[in-house]
C-alpha cells in the first residue's frame, strides 16, 4: 500500500494500539477524525489530556478518581465493614451499575499471571491487607471467572483468613470466560447475593 499521508498513518497506528481496535477500525476512526471540524478535534484532544492530568488512583481503594480519597471511600452512606475486591476499575463500574452493593471496594490492578510475569508484588495486595486489619468484617473476592482469577482468589483467601474476618467469593453464577465487565446487571446481582464463604 502506497501511503500519501504520514500523519494519517501515524494516527491509524495510534488507534491500532488501543484494546479491541483492529487495523480496519483504526483506519475508519482516523478518516472520521479527518472529517471533523477543527474545534471538535481540539476538544477531543483536550479530553484526552484532561483524563491524563486529572484522573488518578484513590490512595485507599486504588479505584480511578479525581478527588483523593474517592467519592465511594468518603461516602457516609457506604457500609464500611464490607470490602469487595476486584481486578480493575471497570469491574467497579459494572458492580455500581447494579445499584445493589453498598460496601467499599479494593481494586487490585490486575490478577496473578505468572505467564505474563504478574506476581503478588505487582498488585495492590499489601494495601488490602492493611485495610483488612482495620475493623473490616467481610471481604468479598470478585475476580473474573477464569484460571487467573481463580488462582488470585485462592491466594488472597489464604492471606486474609488468618486475620479472623469473613472471606467470601461471589457465586460462580458468571459463565466461565465472561468477565465481570461484560456481565449483565442481573447476573452480577445474583453472583453478589449468592456469595460463598471460603
Amino acid at each position: 500500500m502506497l501511503s500519501t499521508s504520514p500523519s494519517l498513518d501515524a494516527l491509524v497506528a495510534r488507534f491500532s494500539r488501543l484494546p479491541g481496535i483492529g487495523r480496519k477500525t483504526a483506519q475508519r476512526l482516523a478518516l472520521h477524525i479527518l472529517k471533523l471540524g477543527t474545534e471538535e478535534v481540539r476538544a477531543m484532544a483536550q479530553a484526552l489530556l484532561d483524563v491524563k492530568e486529572n484522573v488518578r488512583e484513590c490512595s485507599i481503594c486504588r479505584n480511578i478518581t479525581e478527588e483523593d480519597p474517592c467519592a465511594i471511600c468518603t461516602s457516609p452512606k457506604r457500609e464500611r465493614r464490607l470490602i469487595c475486591v476486584v481486578e480493575e476499575s471497570t469491574d467497579v463500574l459494572a458492580i455500581e451499575r447494579t445499584n445493589e452493593y453498598k460496601g467499599l471496594y479494593h481494586v487490585l490492578g490486575g490478577r496473578l499471571s505468572p505467564l505474563e510475569g504478574v506476581g503478588p508484588d505487582d498488585l495492590h495486595i499489601q494495601s488490602l491487607l492493611d485495610r483488612a486489619a482495620q475493623g473490616v468484617e467481610e471481604i468479598i473476592l470478585a475476580m473474573n471467572p477464569n484460571v487467573e482469577g481463580e488462582a488470585t482468589t485462592l491466594y488472597l483467601a489464604r492471606l486474609l483468613k488468618p486475620l479472623g474476618l469473613r472471606v467470601t467469593r461471589i457465586a460462580r453464577g458468571l459463565p466461565v470466560g465472561t468477565d465481570l465487565e461484560y456481565a449483565d446487571n442481573d447476573t452480577i446481582s445474583r453472583a453478589l447475593e449468592g456469595r460463598i464463604a471460603l
Binding site: 496473578l112 499471571s113 505468572p114 505467564l115 510475569g117 506476581g119 503478588p120 484460571v147 487467573e148 481463580e150 488462582a151 488470585t152 482468589t153 485462592l154 491466594y155 489464604r158 466461565v176 470466560g177
Partner: protein
C-alpha cells in the same frame, strides 16, 4: 435420518484453488494420484468439524502458499433435518482463525467441537498404538471432548494452569518459601482440574472398552485378546472425596524435583493409556499387522461409541488406509462401512476404487487431479 455433511467448499487449501463437492449419504470416494489433493479434502472436513487438522500439522501450513486466506465451507444437515452452514477462515500470516455457524461468529473454537462429530483414521495415526504416550492422550482427549463439553473446558483450563505453574517454576532461581506460597493456589487449581480430567478419562475408558472389543472381534476373531488400562503418572486414589487435596499435597512433596527440571512431572499430561495384546505391551510386542488391526478397532470402536452417546451420527474419514491392508482386513472393513453412515475415503489404488464401486450401494465417486475435484464417471 442421520447427520450428513451435504456440501463442501474448499478455497485456497494446499493445491486447491476452488473445489466444491456434493456429499450424499454413504461412501464418498476420492480417487487420485498421491499429491493430487485428496487428503486436503479430508483435512477440510476435519477443520469444519473439530477446528483442527487431523494430521496434527498447524493450520497455517495448509493454506495455499500464494493465498492470503483459506476459506472452507460446509453445509450440514442434522438428523432432525436442520441445516447448518459452517464457514472456517484461516489467514496465512499470523492472524486468528474465524469460524462462523449460520453467519454468527464463534467466540471460541471450543463451541464447535462436538456439534458435528467426526472420527478420523489416517496413516499418521499409527503413532496412537506405536508411539509416545502423548499420541494416546491426544486420542483420548479428542474423543472425550466430543462427548463432554465440560471435559473440553477442563482440558483448556488445565493446560493454561500448567503453563502458569511451569512459568512460576522457571521464574524462581531458588526454591524458597515464597515460591511455595505463590505456587499454592496454582497447585490447588491444577489438582482440582486434574482430578476431574482423570476421572472422566477413566469412566470413558470403561464405557468405551466394549465397543472397541466388539470391533476387534469382528476383524480378527477371538485369537487376539486386547486390553487397555489407564496409567496415572502418580498413584492417587481418585475415588476419595479429598482426591484433589491428595494430589496438591503430592505436587508440594515433589516440588524439589519439579523445580530442578522447571517442569511438572505428574498429572494428566503425563498419564498414559497402556495397550496390551494377550497380556503383552503392544508397543514392544505387536507385529505391524496387529498394530493396524488395533488402530482400526480403536477408531471404528470410537465411531460406534460416539454414535451411541451423541445425538448425531459421526462422519468417518478414512485417509489412504486400504492400500496397505491384506484382503481379509480390507473385506472386513468394507463390510463395516454401510453401518458407519457417511464415510469419506481416499485412495490412489485402482483396485480399491473398483471394489468400493462393486461392493457398496450408496456412494459418490470423485476424481482428484492437481487440486481439482470432479465426478468420476463409472463405466456402464
Amino acid at each position: 435420518m442421520i447427520m450428513l455433511l451435504t456440501r463442501l467448499r474448499l478455497r485456497n487449501i494446499r493445491n486447491h484453488r476452488y473445489s466444491e463437492l456434493e456429499c450424499p449419504p454413504g461412501v464418498i470416494l476420492l480417487w487420485g494420484e498421491n499429491g493430487a489433493g485428496k487428503t486436503s479434502v479430508l483435512e477440510a472436513v476435519a477443520m469444519l468439524c473439530t477446528a483442527q487438522t487431523f494430521a496434527a500439522v498447524p493450520e497455517r501450513s495448509v493454506v495455499s502458499r500464494d493465498a492470503s486466506e483459506m476459506e472452507l465451507g460446509g453445509e450440514f444437515c442434522t438428523h432432525r433435518g436442520v441445516r447448518h452452514e459452517v464457514v472456517y477462515r484461516f489467514p496465512r500470516d499470523g492472524g486468528r482463525r474465524k469460524i462462523e455457524i449460520d453467519g454468527a461468529p464463534l467466540t471460541s473454537a471450543a463451541d464447535l467441537i462436538g456439534r458435528f462429530p467426526l472420527v478420523t483414521l489416517s496413516p499418521d495415526h499409527g503413532a496412537v498404538t506405536a508411539g509416545s504416550p502423548a499420541e494416546r492422550r491426544r486420542f483420548l482427549d479428542i474423543v472425550v471432548s466430543q462427548v463432554s463439553h465440560a471435559y473440553l473446558l477442563d482440558l483448556i483450563e488445565f493446560r493454561r494452569i500448567l503453563r502458569h505453574r511451569n512459568a512460576l517454576l522457571a521464574a524462581h532461581e531458588k526454591l524458597t518459601g515464597r515460591l511455595r506460597t505463590e505456587l499454592e493456589p496454582w497447585d490447588r487449581a491444577f489438582a482440582a482440574a486434574a482430578v476431574r480430567i482423570v476421572r472422566r478419562r477413566r469412566s470413558f475408558i470403561d464405557a468405551y472398552r466394549p465397543y472397541f472389543l466388539a470391533v476387534m472381534r469382528d476383524i480378527v476373531g477371538a485369537r487376539e485378546v486386547p486390553e487397555f488400562r489407564y496409567r496415572q503418572s502418580v498413584e492417587t486414589d481418585l475415588e476419595r472425596e479429598k482426591a484433589a487435596d491428595d494430589l496438591a499435597a503430592e505436587l508440594a512433596a515433589r516440588l524439589p524435583s519439579d523445580h530442578a527440571r522447571r517442569s511438572t512431572m505428574i498429572g494428566p499430561h503425563r498419564d498414559d493409556l497402556e495397550m496390551l495384546v494377550n497380556g503383552m505391551d503392544v508397543r514392544t510386542h505387536a507385529s505391524r499387522g496387529q498394530h493396524k488391526t488395533l488402530l482400526i478397532s480403536l477408531k471404528a470402536g470410537e465411531w460406534f461409541f460416539l454414535n451411541d452417546h451423541l445425538d448425531e451420527r459421526p462422519v468417518f474419514l478414512l485417509d489412504d488406509v486400504f492400500s496397505e491392508l491384506d484382503d481379509d482386513r480390507f473385506g472386513n472393513i468394507l463390510r463395516l462401512i454401510p453401518l458407519l453412515g457417511q464415510t469419506f475415503v481416499t485412495t490412489a489404488n485402482r483396485t480399491v476404487l473398483d471394489r468400493i464401486t462393486h461392493e457398496t450401494t450408496e456412494r459418490a465417486l470423485y476424481q482428484v487431479e492437481a487440486g481439482t475435484v470432479h465426478r468420476y464417471m463409472e463405466a456402464a
